[in-house]
């Protein structure tokens, strides 16, 4: 197989309703046509979601996208994009954030993660070197971002570095002002994507 320069070559599709996931390969011509998280996310959402899907529907998707420069030695290359349907205006929405989440997402072995479905219990997803696992997060539910990060450190141990995109109490209560947070102070918030 030819090496995908700048990409890991894997897309992850998670279904929270029945806790399953699917790993799909990234096509070279697809990656060439749709550069960056924004464009690729828009294309995948357009293909996967039916027209008229509401932002809170079970089949509605939220995607965490990395780009080709993430985790390379290039400067100014640490941003990831969150794509979804916005409940504010019911259309495609993208927002982005910096920090160390994007390089870590590539290090975990995926270019992008798409999540759909609704879980019955609070949970968090752990991506570890290409492995996907679901963990109970009822002890983290209702906590602020910093408290959640500390809780995750307790759960996972601090011997290996990790990074997390987290929603705080605002996101849990579906506030339109809340944000997806990483590195405890970096936010991806435009268009109420955290809902």
């Amino acid at each position: 197989m030819r090496i995908m320069y700048g990409y890991v070559g894997k897309l992850l599709f998670v279904d929270l309703s029945n806790k399953t996931y699917e790993i799909r390969g990234l096509d070279e011509s697809f990656a060439k046509t749709y550069v960056s998280g924004h464009l690729m996310g828009a294309r995948v959402l357009c293909d996967e979601m039916k027209a008229g899907t509401g932002a809170f529907d079970e089949s509605s998707m939220i995607g965490f996208m990395g780009g080709p420069l993430n985790n390379t030695k290039a400067f100014v290359s640490g941003r990831y994009t969150v794509v979804s349907k916005s409940p504010v205006y019911d259309g495609f929405n993208d927002c982005n954030s910096g920090g160390y989440f994007a390089p870590m997402l590539k290090k975990s072995g995926f270019d992008a993660v798409f999540v759909k479905g609704i879980s019955d219990k609070p949970l968090y997803i752990l991506l570890d070197d290409g492995k996907v696992s679901f963990h109970d997060a009822s002890h983290l539910w209702g906590r602020t971002v910093k408290q959640t990060e500390e809780g995750l450190k307790k759960d996972l141990g601090s011997d290996r570095k990790f990074n997390a995109a987290i929603v705080g109490p605002g996101g849990e209560r579906l506030s339109y002002m809340a944000a997806v947070m990483n590195d405890s102070h970096r936010a991806a918030a435009r268009g109420a994507v955290e809902r």
């Binding site: 700048g6 420069l69 072995g109 479905g117």
Partner: protein
């Protein structure tokens, strides 16, 4: 995420990403560092504030060029550098060099800036203040 009961997406690992042209990438890094400290981008945004118009447009042009260069060195595609041409005169904004036919002309920073300003506004009459501020 809140409506799906998804509290967090946690990532960790040691995967690496292959780059088509590692040397070209590092060279581009050097170029951007150089441009920042003593090249065409020096003092651009600071001097003009957040409303910097003319110069910040140039600045972003240079940045987008560098980003393009990054992209091409990572993804193994041919990189075509943007240059301005006027008859036999060729200006390279990244390297701040001026060529006439095959000769490289020695220009100072001020001369280059004025030349670049005129090249970007062909057929226009520019106010004296504008060229002065350049």
């Amino acid at each position: 995420m809140g409506s799906r009961k998804l509290k967090a997406l946690v990532v960790r690992g040691t995967h690496t990403v292959e780059v088509a042209d590692p040397e070209g990438l590092i060279e581009t890094n050097k170029m951007i560092a150089n441009a920042k400290t003593n090249g065409i981008m020096k003092d651009y945004l600071q001097g003009f504030g957040s409303l910097g118009t003319l110069r910040s447009v140039e600045y972003f042009l240079s940045v987008s060029q560098l980003l393009r260069r990054y992209y091409y060195s990572v993804r193994q595609l041919e990189y075509i550098e943007m240059r301005a041409h006027f008859n036999d005169l060729e200006i390279n904004p990244l390297q701040q060099s001026v060529r006439f036919v095959d000769k490289v002309l020695p220009v100072t920073k001020k001369e280059f800036d004025v030349l670049w300003l005129f090249m970007n506004h062909p057929g226009q009459i520019l106010a004296k203040d504008l060229t002065k501020s350049t």
